[in-house]
Symmetry: C2
Subunit: 150 residues, 2 copies
């Protein structure tokens, strides 16, 4: 699978370890940076990752920052991305089954490496449930960000 991974400086070591893990599983991994420990802004990397998902150059994405919160917000600004912030594999599985999530976000300062790998396994191995969930996912692709006229 073509998987893109991006982070901020706080999650550089986790990004590197998870990229190695994904390559070891046989996936084609695009590391979208950052590539050194210089302080960066997580939205920049979240937007790059979401764009790679939206244009189809990546099928799945892994988004990392200190808590996972900031980069998960950034990725979800793009209607083509559906990012689930997870800390354990059950949520990673539900994100696929119910929400057809194409990105998982994790917090490098909150999650351990083996838990992160277990989340990735659940994320990559679970199929979308379709059915009633499809209608809801379609609505996520066509967001309404203004109030309806009264």
């Amino acid at each position: 699978m073509r998987i893109a991974i991006a982070s901020d400086h706080a999650a550089l070591a986790l990004k590197s370890a998870l990229a190695d893990y994904l390559r070891g599983l046989g996936h084609n991994v695009a590391d979208l940076g950052p590539h050194d420990e210089t302080s960066v802004d997580y939205p920049d990397y979240g937007y790059s990752l979401a764009a790679a998902i939206a244009d189809g150059s990546a099928e799945r994405g892994i988004a990392l920052c200190g808590s996972g919160i900031g980069i998960s917000i950034a990725v979800n600004r793009n209607p083509g991305a559906r990012a689930a912030l997870v800390s354990e594999p059950l949520s990673a599985r539900l994100a696929r089954e119910h929400n057809d999530a194409n990105v998982i976000a994790m917090g490098a300062r909150l999650i351990g490496i083996e838990m992160a790998k277990a989340c990735i396994d659940a994320f990559l191995l679970t199929d979308f449930g379709g059915d009633r969930h499809q209608r809801r996912v379609d609505k996520l692709s066509n967001p309404i960000t203004t109030k309806e006229p009264a």
Copy 2:
């Protein structure tokens, strides 16, 4: 504080319990629905909540669905909302300190009522850290959803 709360049918009971909790703390709570157990689509309620945050009618929001994932994605489609999906209070605190989160999302099928209350307490009582975090939060308000020209 003016707090809006919204969910889907799976989180109706948790929404009701948390609305009572917030009113007991003295907050002005707007329950944006749903108001019965009919099956609904979480994006509809997430978009309503985000619009209430974006237009200032609510200062903070609580977003609930079965896992918290779907509605957190929906809320974050609105550049005026910053929703953190949380399962414990440390993340709720970091969401405020680092990301100036104005919404927390939680999963009714994953979190217990006392943990949810502890998340709300951390969310409502923590101030934004400002400083370098402000620049990143500003970028979340001005998302880039297309790739930069080569």
